[in-house]
Subunit: 493 residues, 2 copies
């Protein structure tokens, strides 16, 4: 029997989370048993479904229960041997707070409906938004795009009225293949390039290619939660890869995983920004060939490498057809465009053609044709060069200002490539405290807890409490003032 | 040992199909064993992979082997107890021919790459193309669309640079909800409407919502092969529904299926064109509520009902949240737009929000915003009215000319709604013979064999040999001459 006390200040979902957790750790709820359906428990306790769901998600995040798409939450306590921290409550409050922040982040990333949600749950007006993923207003070449759409519709009167190539316009795939070859050494025919709306859709489509023997996926921890969710939704077994320490440790964890599929971001690990050295790339390719593993290489921000020489993509080093290369236009042109691509090894291309023979390409012909003209007319190269300079400048201002204002009191993690850095303070403050303090001064910085698969206790402190500071959405002239505000928020004026 | 004879007129893939089939029926290849990988056998026999694949597909279509996504073809002869027709070879040639036609149709539907394939395999120039699905050139409102894209980009400078609502722009969902309510009686809040690129993507996304207890899908036979493939690719167990005889038989087969999911097209069964009467709709809704079954109602051509009063959609009659309503813009505006929608019952909406909380909407913001303005400015209603008149005229000319030229020698099936009819001749000619004869006179008509799940022998003759005659791609002034040519091709001048 669970009793919730509405007079307490502790939110109901935390009370519920604590009650369930105590029953699980005491063994009153047995390992392997299922938790009641959300609706049932919500009715029983007379609370909202959201309350039950948040409690279940917290238990999931901390490794007490597992959740599979659509099916019920199942008790699978992986924490038996873990040290229980003394100050349990402060930990709960921390994660509780960061759930709110995650909601808020989702709101800022995902537009109106959720934004409203976010605005209701946040009292602070964000003036300086160091969001990740979105681009700053005005970065999309609107006038040019309208011209290209117009040219596309003139170019082929018939194509706007019919189904197009199921794998994408072949001329566009040609342009992408050439561009990948020139910039990342990727070796492929245009036929190996498949157009998709986004990386999550691409991975979801790829899951169909693998038979039941490919049931284990190794995935970076911390790593991109969006793709992790795709694999969870399709009921794969996930094994975390250690990207928090050394490349050797990463390789060891990959090899120990015995995974038949691995999803990795070797050229700018998300979110830590680590870059996998060449030797380690060669070693994991060798292992993948021996083990029969497919490596999904997500080269999501290949356009932005600021420090040192780029290391060749895994795909360019692979001689055994083990790499599935993934790229996106979201970081290059706009996330609103919904366009990404897969480069398949020949063996899988054959399976893909078989499995998807009577599907249609999910990306609209008009957008593909406009992008094709964007490439053909030389805009693509020019635009990337310009964007590179823009983001390098923002990055330099960001890092310089962080160092100038808070140099000895913070750690800056990553930033050699991509569109964000992680920042942690050299004190005992939690992620949530740092985000909250920033928000009170009108500065938007973001949580990273959602990228972890391992329980809170097992995360290294400097990464666990680090916050995400992006520089793709904020305008250049706002960065210095934003960071000065952050300094005042964290360490006083 | 398989020996192929290149000097024979019989295509290599038919020789291969026959050789394998004889080994399977004789027991030389055992039930449960796997066929060699396509690549391996192609190398061994020195034929193209396409040849092997077509042979395997033919064996699959006829129930000798099964294929699961990505994994190898497996011998699973379901024909043991079936009567083997005497004239086996004529049957093979028939299905063989129609495989070619299917390829050709895929080519015509799917653009360049496949079209080349098709042009290589077809010697005849099609002057009168009664294709289905595609729209005639000039039907897309290009000028208007460019204006709308331009207005969309002006409307919100920021939205073109960021991720948008994960379930679709709420204003667009509002317009769709209102339109569905006004035209099909669909009862829903805008929040229940989810924007997707196409019906296949929508169904694929829906499969994530169901736990392992929802493993059986009842699906129309004959029916839309595209969605059948989605369920096959996601490894659901499929049960065929009898749509070839009476509504009673359909209901019986649905109730006997014990399925937890059913995919149906009650308002214009594809491809037979049958319309499910109101009483049967109410009866299956009652059964679905009792059995806990979700009914996926694909109302793919709701805009085109020419004869009689429209029957209310299942969704509008459902009081128990058992109907998932699916609609598309492909038939209304253009298949090149890649836009469709799902209307979820409240219970599943909650699951969807949970499962897809950190995904992005796969449909580009620009296209959504342009369509939203298309609706807001009243173009949607005007365009549908105009399209309705256009296709009703084409349909009337088509049916009138068919009756005037071949009235007593053919059966016209369907045509009360939608964008195609089926035609069969009152003689013993096969589908392939009819398609071939038409092609020789420059008339493109299309096979229907790919829509069947049951073996050739079990299909009722009038449906089995019927060909698909579409009127969405052909211009109005070509229809009469095309049908006159068809008459000459089939019955002489």
């Amino acid at each position: 029997m669970i009793v919730l006390d509405r007079s307490q200040e502790t939110p109901l979902y935390i009370q519920l989370y604590e009650a369930l957790k105590s029953e699980i750790t005491s063994g009153a709820i047995e390992d392997g048993s299922k938790l009641p359906p959300i609706r049932t428990l919500a009715d029983e306790l007379d609370v909202s479904r959201n309350t039950v769901e948040m409690a279940y998600q917290q238990l999931t995040a901390e490794g007490y229960v597992t959740s599979r798409s659509g099916s019920r939450y199942r008790v699978e306590n992986t924490n038996h041997t873990l040290h229980e921290p003394k100050d349990n409550m402060s930990k709960i409050r921390q994660t509780a707070g960061s759930t709110q922040s995650a909601l808020k982040q989702a709101g800022l990333l995902c537009g109106k409906t959720l934004q409203d949600e976010c605005e209701r749950s946040s009292e602070h007006q964000i003036e300086f938004d160091f969001a990740y993923g979105n681009r700053s207003e005005g970065s999309f070449p609107s006038r040019l795009w309208i011209t290209l759409v117009s040219e596309a519709l003139d170019y082929d009167q018939g194509a706007s009225s019919r189904y197009s190539d199921p794998f994408g316009e072949i001329e566009l795939r040609q342009i992408i293949a050439q561009n990948l070859n020139a910039t990342r050494g990727v070796q492929c025919d245009p036929e190996q390039v498949i157009i998709q709306p986004g990386t999550q859709e691409a991975v979801d489509a790829l899951t169909v290619l693998f038979d039941a023997s490919y049931d284990t996926v190794a995935i970076e921890n911390p790593g991109y939660d969006g793709v992790r969710r795709v694999f969870e939704n399709r009921r794969f077994h996930l094994v975390p890869l250690d990207v928090a320490s050394t490349p050797e440790r990463f390789r060891e964890s990959l090899e120990a995983s015995n995974a038949t599929i691995a999803f990795i971001t070797p050229s700018n690990q998300f979110p830590t920004g680590k870059i996998l050295p060449l030797d380690d790339r060669l070693a994991i390719l060798k292992w993948a060939a021996q083990n029969g593993t497919y490596l999904l290489e997500d080269d999501y921000c290949r356009e932005y490498r600021y420090v040192g020489n780029p290391i060749p993509s895994l795909q360019s080093l692979d001689t055994n057809g083990r790499v599935i290369y993934l790229g996106t236009l979201s970081k290059m042109l706009s996330p609103a465009l919904r366009m990404s691509y897969i480069v398949l090894p020949h063996e899988l291309l054959e399976v893909w053609q078989n499995v998807y023979s009577n599907y249609y390409c999910p990306v609209p012909w008009i957008n593909q044709q406009a992008l094709l003209l964007f490439g053909k007319q030389g805009h693509w190269d020019r635009y990337v060069r310009k964007a590179f300079v823009t983001y390098r400048t923002r990055r330099n201002i960001l890092i310089d200002t962080l160092q100038a204002t808070m140099g000895d009191r913070i750690q800056i993690i990553g930033g050699e490539a991509g569109l964000h850095v992680l920042v942690s303070t050299n004190d005992s403050r939690t992620q949530q405290e740092l985000i909250q303090a920033a928000a009170e001064k009108g500065v938007g910085i973001y949580p990273t807890h959602q990228y972890w698969m391992t329980p809170y206790e097992d995360r290294p402190h400097h990464l666990r409490e680090s916050v995400l500071v992006g520089f793709s959405a904020i305008q250049e002239d706002q960065i210095s003032e934003g960071i000065n505000r952050l300094k005042a928020a964290w360490f006083g004026a």
